[in-house]
Symmetry: C2
Subunit: 231 residues, 2 copies
DNA sequence: AAAGTGGTTATGTCTATTCAAATACAGTCC
DNA sequence: GGACTGTATTTGAATAGACATAACCACTTT
């Protein structure tokens, strides 16, 4: 009969019944044991399928209570945040990187407040341009905390972007990401070939290691950029 | 010694060794059996820990080959996309909804092309305003394919936003989401109390059921909106 | 040398069993 | 009636064992 029913099949079966209208949002669906029996597989298989669907926000589960089809799909989208190089090359364009400026300084107050740095903390400020077939693709405003990553002071970032350098030289860490729309200031406009005031898609990423700020990246994307995902 | 080592502990242990620099990016890490032995737990526990870390983009796994610390870590972020009401109320503000306009028409060409609709396809066009404490929070430009969701023609959307109605009345479906920054046109500016041309954070969501387009939502967010996530 | 073959190995998955944790519900006590 | 408590139920998680699958590798064949 049912040969080797895998957790993917179980997931698909549950989704089919939801999509088909058998189990509208809010429905309480059969428990793990029942489903396992009707489908002819082990409870662990159903459990994994249900757990993953709950992770995706499709199901709501509560112990002792049961499992329901989620009513408010507080759905999570997974967005991929590739390295700029990979993102550009994925479109078939040629990637080019250029260092615009590189300055060592004491952290300005807004940066200290934002990253929680002590007064006079040495930082490296980089401005980088990323091109796709010589069209400006991204303008990167990068700040690196030198008291946390002193090795960065000895890197010149002429050939390699700071992101690639950091990924290769600093161990994995926590990050906070924010997306917003801002108006291009003079500097951003000049580097992205925009008129000042044009809307710019901005990705700000703060990276920490054990709570200590490593770097702040402000990635300004060129005109017409869309960040897309499916779910 | 190590009593009841759970998959969370294993995950934390692996992350610690990565963060601590023991296993820099690119390192091949011990296989499941070895790790299970050294940690004193079952292979399935290590397996789940490693699988979840691979899902998060922290590890790369290949059958027969082994498991490596990912060289480009911050690969994917999960962003939550709640209903507007929940998003507003989470900030402590009072949520208010208002229907700005509601028109039934044949789908315009740009919409037909975008959603793959036949000529003359009936659609419902809604413009909705969402407020947080009477400040404009989001302006929603919504198109609903009436040949797929005919019941929508009988809903007036005066008290309830189309998103909430759709979530409750149309079964789960696939969605495509795109984020971008655009300049406010006259209509958007008026509804968000902005000056025309100001940058607006735009979320466009296309929803399909078995390939048939259900709805297109263009969600324009008010000034200063930031979509944030941690990972 | 090129192409195919089979074995080895690491991950992927399923089963069966057991225990743990959370909690809705009923029943008890004041 | 209202607060507390115990128990049954359901999910959560760990274990051991088995088999499946993909891929690398050495070896054989052509």
């Amino acid at each position: 009969m049912a040969e080797a029913l895998g957790f993917r099949d179980v997931k698909a079966g549950i989704l089919d019944r939801i999509r088909g209208g058998d189990w509208p949002p809010g429905t309480r669906i059969p428990n793990e044991v029942e489903l396992a029996e009707t489908l002819g597989c082990a409870r662990a298989t159903v459990s994994r399928a249900m757990r993953e669907l709950a992770d995706d926000g499709v199901l709501d589960r509560r112990r002792r209570a049961g499992t329901w089809v989620a009513t408010s799909p507080v759905r999570q989208a997974r967005i991929e945040i590739p390295l700029v190089r990979a993102e550009v090359e994925a479109t078939g364009a040629r990637y080019r990187y250029a260092l615009v400026s590189r300055d060592r300084m004491a952290a300005p107050n807004w940066l200290r407040a934002r990253l929680g740095l002590p007064e006079g903390c040495p930082v490296l400020h980089l401005a980088c341009a990323h091109f796709a077939d010589d069209f400006p693709f991204q303008y990167e405003d990068r700040w690196i905390n030198l008291s946390a990553v002193s090795a960065a002071a000895r890197a010149d970032f002429a050939a390699e972007g700071p992101n690639e350098w950091l990924v290769a030289n600093v161990p994995l860490s926590e990050a906070e990401i924010a997306f917003s729309a801002v108006a291009a200031d003079a500097e951003v406009a000049a580097n992205l070939s925009l008129a000042p005031g044009e809307p710019v898609f901005l990705c700000e990423r703060t990276t920490r290691l054990d709570g200590e700020a490593i770097t702040l990246a402000r990635l300004h994307f060129g005109r017409g950029y869309r960040m897309t995902t499916v779910l």
